[in-house]
Amino acid sequence: MIRLHPFTGLALAVAAALLTLAADRWWLSLAVTTAAVGLAVLAGTAARLMLTAGAVLAPLWLSQLMVHALFDTAGSEVLVAGGPVRLTLEGLTTAGGLGLRAAAFVSVFLLYSLTVDRIELVRAIDAARVPAQLGYIVAATLALVPATVNRAKAIEQAQAVRGAGEGSGPAGWLRRKRLLAVPLVLSSIQEATERSVQLQLRGFAGGPGRTQLHPVPARSWEKPFGLLVLCLAAAAAVLLASQGGR
């Protein structure tokens, strides 16, 4: 697969999400979701994309089903009724449309986050002449999950060698996680405090004249292409939204 500059990938993701959200066409949402899954298959991250998207979307879909479809009082075409439940075709259509839009949005950004090189993204942000702190916040946020996983592993090991690693099944798992929670938060705060002092002492809060040892390479066409895609998406979104309907 072609390796894009992190900002080109971001422009494509934003354009797809913008178009889908603003246009509100079920077929477009479905097409964008399918394309995201197809690209994930090509990138070899389809399983992770589906699993993560499922974890994010399942509660979202359930809540939309409950809010818009299961207890709908306005719709005329009743499909199922009994007690407080009144499932209507209109409610189901609304929930389905919203669900598809959410699926497109989530899968597009998940695809981006699973395929972008975190370090290259940080370098690209650094080079974009934004404040260094913003770059660091993005880097630290992106590094948060692996850093927290490592930290949790270290604490779990420290606890396990003191006999806290025992117990199988959900009860044992729950007990270990309960023991882990407070130390994990406290040590993360401790580490962040210590590191923030050291970052300052390495001139991190420096002015705008920062340089880079290895700038992220970008092909000459990528910047105009990214801007063009964003403009086209915005224009198409406005056009589709003005036509209304689904």
Partner: protein, 544 residues
């Protein structure tokens, strides 16, 4: 740089952390500030580095002169806050916890070295040239494309010092720069420090060990309880031991000797450690092996991501050489064979990054060997859970940050799930043995590093392990702490416990360990025949 610290107090503390300390650091000089745990070294380093008092609420009375400017402090609650962006151009400071110096938002050691230079806006070509020079000086070529998060403790320190030195700041402040480094790396750091001094840098070294490698320091100061106790090498050497500073080559620590840390215990004259439980397997009793490594082999998996990055780096980086050839790695551990028996203390030595920590963690089942087997009390670690192994073995981690997680010293030492909590009497004994009486309610992270290390040791002792596995236990310990450790080892082995510890401190190993197992020198030492129980020792097990 000139400092005159009449008085420095941390917020909420009545007693000053530093008082009456004067220090002049001329260009092209080497200054050694020695002191034990809690002597005020790190506070002095913080003031020199510019972040104390800053906005921490600390109160400083005195003055600091740097690069032609003088800041006067009146001891009030609203001190000057220095502009760190300007300050760091003149002063680079590597803290005792070298890991915290690394930004951890850079993917390779090479980029970590560039971090400070990038922030200073240095042109690429100059950056690359400087990194190449510093990498050569510190022999970091092999590490340049490694992930900084996956370095060994000694490598972390080496990279941090290199990252400070590469900035070319006029004043270089190094807190315990040789702690945890192998002999070669320590010699290299010492030589580089001298080289930097000779080219005009003012180097200040804060240490709890009067290392002979820095005996040519132009100025030496001994700190004790926040005050200047002696100046000049002869006077400092004389007062060092009483102040908790280790003097290598001094009189060998007497086994079971007294410590000046706790007068009460000194009066009693003997350290009591919680008695180790007997290994449960009959075959492990007596002189049989409590811990046994047989044909152990191990390689770290090469992360796919780093392989790809190394490949990318090869493709597009021609300005810094020597870093990107780590795609095919040799095994970290290969055919390791040795055993540790009840009642003996064995030292594991070897250069940084040769797998000492990996080998020690295998004893608790935290890392599984790729080949061969590890047995604790006759039980294969592959067939036991960490919790089951922890009933026999206790592990002191290399970095206390990986071991301490509770809110007070007492909670930390007494930690355990229901049914596996240490006995209160054993907790008391462990606290006393580690000189922590009276500090039970302190937060572990608010203690000086040496004490923090002793808290971690107490957590191990309180569980009465029959096997003590200690990863670099002397690192960060001052002289008092080392004496306590020595006494604990003596008492533990006398009580029948087996001890395996990793260290670069050959003097400590010589004084307290019966045998030394050296990694990284396979087939170098002809002592295989002396190995007990017919276990071959291709890694060079030697016997004293």
């Amino acid at each position: 740089m000139e400092l005159e610290i009449l008085d420095y107090r941390y917020p909420g503390h009545e007693a000053p952390a530093l008082s009456g300390v004067r220090l002049t650091v001329p260009p092209a000089s080497l200054t050694l500030v020695a002191g034990g745990s809690g002597s005020g070294k790190s506070t002095l380093a913080g003031i020199m580095a510019g972040y104390l008092p800053g906005r921490t609420g600390g109160q400083l009375a005195g003055s600091i002169s740097l690069a032609g400017q003088t800041l006067k402090y009146d001891g009030g609650a609203q001190p000057h806050v220095v502009d760190l962006r300007q300050w760091v151009r003149h002063v680079a400071y590597v803290p005792q916890n070298a890991r915290s110096y690394l930004s951890m938002v850079r993917s390779t050691v090479e980029e970590e070295l560039a971090f400070g230079l990038e922030n200073a806006g240095m042109p690429r070509a100059e950056m690359a040239a400087r990194i190449q020079t510093i990498a050569g000086r510190f022999d970091l070529g092999r590490l340049l494309q490694r992930d900084p998060a996956r370095l060994s403790g000694g490598q972390e320190r080496l990279v941090a010092i290199a990252a400070a030195a590469v900035t070319d700041a006029g004043v270089l402040v190094l807190d315990e720069p040789l702690a945890g480094l192998d002999e070669l790396a320590a010699a290299r750091v010492a030589a580089t420090v001298r080289g930097l001094r000779d080219t005009g840098t003012a180097v200040v070294i804060l240490t709890s060990v009067l290392d002979t490698r820095f005996s040519d320091a132009g100025h030496t100061l001994l700190l004790e309880n926040g005050q200047s106790a002696a100046e000049g090498m002869p006077a400092v050497r004389q007062g060092a031991e009483a102040a908790g500073v280790v003097v290598p080559g001094g009189p060998a620590p007497a086994r079971g000797g007294t410590s000046s840390l706790s007068p009460e215990r000194a009066a009693r004259g003997a350290t009591v450690v919680p008695a180790g439980g007997s290994p449960t397997e009959p075959e492990s009793r007596g002189s049989a092996a409590v811990l046994c490594y047989r044909n152990v082999g191990f390689s770290y998996p090469q992360p796919e991501r780093n392989v790809r990055r190394a490949r990318l780096a090869r493709g597009r980086r021609r300005d810094v050489s020597g870093g990107a050839e780590r795609t095919a790695i040799a095994p970290l551990l290969d055919t390791i064979n040795f055993a540790v028996h009840a009642g003996e203390c064995v030292a594991l030595t070897g250069p940084n990054g040769t797998g000492k920590t990996t080998l020690l963690k295998m004893a608790l089942g935290l890392i599984a060997p790729d080949a061969g087997s590890v047995a604790v009390a006759g039980r294969d670690t592959a067939e036991a859970s960490v919790g089951q192994l922890a009933k026999t073995a206790g592990l002191l981690f290399q970095n206390p940050a990986d071991q301490l997680f509770e809110r007070s010293v007492h909670h930390e030492v007494a930690f355990g799930p229901p049914g596996s909590r240490p006995d209160p009497a054993a907790v008391r004994q462990a606290l006393d043995a580690c000189g922590l009486a009276g500090l039970e309610d302190e937060h572990p992270y608010e203690l000086p590093v040496s004490r923090r290390r002793l808290v971690a040791l107490a957590t191990v002792l309180a569980r009465r392990p029959a096997l003590l596995v200690l990863d670099e236990p002397t690192v960060s310990l001052d002289g008092h702490g080392r004496k306590l450790l020595g006494r604990i080892l003596t008492a533990a082995t006398a009580g029948g416990a087996a001890v395996l510890l990793s260290t670069h401190d050959k003097e400590f190993a010589g004084a307290h360990c019966r045998r030394v197992v050296e990694l990284g020198r396979q087939y170098a030492l002809p002592h295989e025949a002396a190995a007990p129980e017919g276990i071959s020792a291709p890694d060079g097990t030697s016997f004293r």
